[in-house]
């Protein structure tokens, strides 16, 4: 694809995205777009660590929930304006990310072990959030309904634009990663930690930075979620469901690619919606279809969808060369 055509396509999609709420009078499709974009954004956050850094987290709910709770608590207990909740959520998510990274990378956890420890961190937070009073324990936290931009409750269309902006920011950020020293070194660590170290790359510091960044981004997503639904409880915030949903997005779309998470989120949400409409109302049957679809997709698209769309750069690495 020529650079010109690429740019034209990008521009057209941008315009389409901006104009979407004006054309789609449907509240449903706007909310559908909001959710899809929110997970594209969260997936991109995961992609920084998992796709570019090669560290698979099964516990991104840890950052999502922490961001959500930080903003919700600050707002309900201390009357903080939710706009300030956004940076607060980033800070909280980043701090938890840093701590989780410090602990796990310091002790050299990789692969399945890293995945499991992040899962466990999220579980610990879920149990704690259920037990301690300031999170509202099992009852959860209610954010007061105060519609309007001032309190970051701008209505579905407003939220759409906010999350669209976040998605653009995350795309830009991923592009930056691909074109910066940080990103180059991060990818080098993903590909081969020993070789990277031999070239003077401090893999540990890099991974901690990546997880802190990813955590901060995810935390912001949590804040947005809480502002949109005005409610958070421990299993919504820290349950394994949210972690899995976040990581599916970039894996399906294409790991370590700029547009992978966006594509993945669109495909997953469209598949889920399609499954409901095709399979009808009987409980469960559409999710059976969705599950099978997932398996079939992997069977025929082992490199994610982005693998189809972009020039095939990743040739098979010989396994026993």
């Amino acid at each position: 694809m020529s650079a010109w055509l690429q740019r034209a396509l990008l521009g057209a999609s941008l315009l389409a995205a901006l104009a979407f709420p004006l054309v789609a009078e449907s509240g449903f499709w706007i909310k559908f777009a909001f959710t899809t974009l929110l997970f594209a954004y969260l997936g991109q956050a995961w992609n920084i660590l998992g796709g570019y850094g090669g560290q698979f987290s099964f516990g991104h709910a840890l950052f999502f929930g922490t961001g959500a709770y930080a903003a919700a608590i600050a707002q309900t207990a201390f009357g903080l304006n939710p706009w300030l909740g956004l940076p607060l959520g980033a800070l909280a998510g980043g701090a938890v990310g840093w701590a989780a990274g410090y602990l796990s990378f310091r002790y050299g956890l990789r692969g399945s072990y890293f995945a499991l420890v992040t899962l466990a961190f999220a579980e610990v937070f879920r149990i704690l959030a259920n037990a301690v009073p300031f999170t509202g324990a099992g009852v959860g936290l209610f954010v007061p309904l105060q519609p309007g931009w001032a309190q970051l409750q701008p209505g579905p269309i407003g939220f759409y634009y906010i999350v669209l902006a976040l998605v653009f920011a995350s795309l830009w950020f991923a592009w930056r990663i691909e074109n910066s020293r940080f990103g180059a070194q991060l990818m080098a660590v993903r590909e081969n930690e020993a070789a990277a170290a031999a070239l003077g790359v401090d893999a540990y510091a890099l991974k901690v930075r990546a997880i802190a960044l990813s955590g901060a981004m995810t935390g912001v997503g949590g804040v947005l979620y809480v502002q949109f639904y005005l409610y958070i409880d421990p299993s919504l915030a820290y349950g394994p469901g949210i972690s899995v949903e976040i990581l599916l997005v970039p894996i399906i779309g294409g790991l370590g690619t700029i547009f992978g998470p966006l594509i993945g989120s669109i495909v997953l949400h469209a598949a889920s919606e399609l499954a409901r409409r095709i399979m009808g109302d009987a409980p469960g049957i559409h999710l059976v279809f969705y599950g099978v679809l997932l398996v079939v997709m992997v069977r025929f698209l082992p490199d994610g969808l982005a693998g189809l769309l972009r020039r095939k750069r990743k040739a098979e690495v010989p396994r026993n060369a």
């Binding site: 910066s180 020993a194 031999a198 401090d202 040739a315």
Partner: protein, 245 residues
């Protein structure tokens, strides 16, 4: 410039390197030879922080670097390549080399530009945008060298960069290594290809069964029967002697 003193490294019960010492003078090309499994690569790893020596010390540029992390050692200007090539498979050749260049060059564009220059120097100018995973063995070996060179090292440790290359390719790489030295980087290389060792190095160390068994000029070393035996097997010296006689 680099001095390893009485380095010992054990793996479980196996002593891979035993009390080995070597010295590399600034501006020289030194070779470390020995049969497969002699412990050459382990010694490299012990000097560059990938293995912590069980005893002994390594000094570089006057400072003790024993037990430092690999990236710290690399930052001081001592960089190794790997015998079993370790390309960043999904990245292009240019991007691979740029990872090395980034050690001294934070700017992305500048690092990529430097990667291009180095690739051209190593005769890889036409492969810049190829994913590293698609390179041939020879290409990967070169990439190892290119990446290491991109870090602007003071001393480069080359681990069997000629293994698997054909004679023409070896003839190409020999002057490149010499040029590296002439540009101011000291070279220590592990090599099996004796032809190249003979042509390149000023000093040769021979490691066998983890012990340093000889050192000297290439000619001195090649003349010693224990070296020939270590290489070609027991009795080879006599057999060769009888054949050449």
């Amino acid at each position: 410039m680099l001095e390893a003193r009485n380095v010992t490294k054990r793996f479980g019960g196996l002593v891979a390197v035993s009390n080995a010492s070597l010295e590399v003078a600034a501006g020289s090309i030194v070779a470390l030879i020995g049969p497969n499994g002699a412990g050459k690569t382990t010694l490299f790893a012990a000097m560059t922080g990938f293995h912590k020596p069980d005893s002994g010390s390594v000094t570089f540029d006057g400072a003790d670097i024993t037990g430092l992390q690999p990236h710290e050692i690399a930052r001081r200007g001592l960089v190794r390549t790997f015998q079993i090539v370790q390309p960043f498979g999904a990245l292009s050749v240019r991007e691979n080399i740029a990872v090395g260049a980034h050690l001294r060059e934070p700017n992305r564009a500048a690092a990529l530009a430097r990667a291009g220059e180095i690739a051209i120097r190593l005769g890889m100018g036409n492969m810049l945008d190829q994913p590293a995973a698609t390179l041939t063995v020879a290409g990967r070996k070169r990439l190892e060298v290119a990446r290491a060179l991109a870090t602007s090292p003071k001393l480069i440790l080359l681990d069997e960069v000629m293994a698997g290359l054909n004679p023409t390719e070896i003839d190409e790489i020999v002057p490149i290594i010499r040029a590296v030295r002439d540009a101011g980087t000291t070279v220590l290389l592990i090599e099996h290809v004796m032809r190249a060792v003979m042509r390149l190095s000023e000093r040769v160390y021979v490691l066998n069964q983890g012990r340093m068994i000889a050192e000297g000029t290439p000619q001195e070393v090649a003349a010693r029967p224990e070296v020939v035996e270590a290489y070609l097997g027991h009795g080879a010296a006599q057999r060769i002697a009888s054949v050449s006689a």
